[in-house]
Symmetry: C2
Subunit: 190 residues, 2 copies
DNA sequence: GAATGTCGGTTGACAGCGTCAACCTCGTCC
DNA sequence: GGACGAGGTTGACGCTGTCAACCGACATTC
């Protein structure tokens, strides 16, 4: 494996294991079997390394969503599968999830990273559109509706990840809240 | 003014001006006119200082929401005013907003901070409940519905703050998206 | 085939950070 | 009047990101 990839992988593992603070260039270098300064031969600085981690993670997500999108399922089931994908990701890799969707630097970045992020969203938007065509979601610009739904899951996950705002009662589970939202959004079929 | 408050105020100003990274204990101490180590006589560590900033910020928010809640307006207008409050806060103090709602340490904290956060949410829940009683929102446990709506605004603001996911098209404005959500949620009045 | 340059790696240094330890200087209370 | 604690200081520590200098291997060019 190339050193670039080994560095990215090491950074991702450190991120998953110990949160963003654990991703020090020295630790990454050491985990990849190189010196504390070798990462600078591959990435401009720490932010660039994290951006690379974000890019490959977005690519993974996009691929998983593409698989769901192509699968033979009802649109609504695809939508649920996609939402579950996000929820699982947020729970299994919370620090990485934050890097992808809750990080100022990730957001500010462009290039590869932005493209991968847009790709991911495009899959999601397409599935939402399928649901609209099947009359399982109200008619509205699919981008807007997709943003809305994504924002809601994201917001719920953020709150869950924070353990914030009355964790026991009310929003006992993100899944339950999402079901309620989708039920409320569902046009009453004739 | 007591040194405690001066430190908190200085930290808040640095946070607003330069983001979380700008809040170094040394800079805070200097801005408050004390030495680089004086903050330790008032706060256990950097996290505790940030938690204090979060607590006073939550208190401010809760107070503003209480004012709205008590005002003589229709429930829906109160709800809109509250949502606008969040949007304005997120835009005027983005770093502080992140500290309040997007910060692992803030979330993990308890005590004063947690109480203030719950207080803030309780105002919001109450306003949502008023809307339900006025038949402007569907019937569902008010806590769940409030969480849902808050999560959506929060998610939209997070995306906006990130500049992420197709910033130009679709979710052109958080306000527009929220209006769509509320319109979709509104029970068809007889 | 020698010279050259670039690429990926090293070691060593720097300042800035959070934090700890030691010390000092008051005002307060037996 | 002496003990003492609260709030302040200075100084040090190790860790961090980053920069600079050096160094070998390999490809390219004359």
């Amino acid at each position: 494996m190339t050193t670039d990839k080994r560095l990215i992988e090491a950074a991702a593992e450190l991120l998953d294991a110990g949160g963003e603070d654990a991703v020090t260039l020295r630790a990454v270098g050491h985990a990849a079997g190189v010196s504390h300064n070798a990462p600078y031969k591959h990435f401009a600085n720490r932010s660039a390394l994290l951006a690379a981690v974000a890019a490959v993670s977005f690519a993974d997500l996009a691929e998983a969503m593409a698989t769901i999108r192509k699968s033979r399922r009802t649109p609504t089931k695809k939508l649920m599968a996609t939402l579950n994908l996000f929820m699982d990701y947020s729970r299994e890799h919370p620090a990485r999830y934050r890097l992808l969707f809750n990080n100022r630097e990730t957001a500010a970045a462009g290039g590869e990273l932005k493209i991968k992020a847009l790709e991911t969203f495009e899959h999601f938007r397409s599935i939402v559109q399928e649901c609209q065509q099947a009359n399982d979601l109200p008619s509205a610009p699919s981008e807007t509706l997709a943003s809305l739904i994504f924002a809601t899951v994201h917001g719920l996950l953020a709150i869950e990840g924070n353990g914030q705002l009355h964790p026991e009662k009310g929003l006992s589970s993100v899944e339950a809240s999402m079901k309620i939202l989708l039920a409320l959004l569902a046009p009453s079929k004739t």
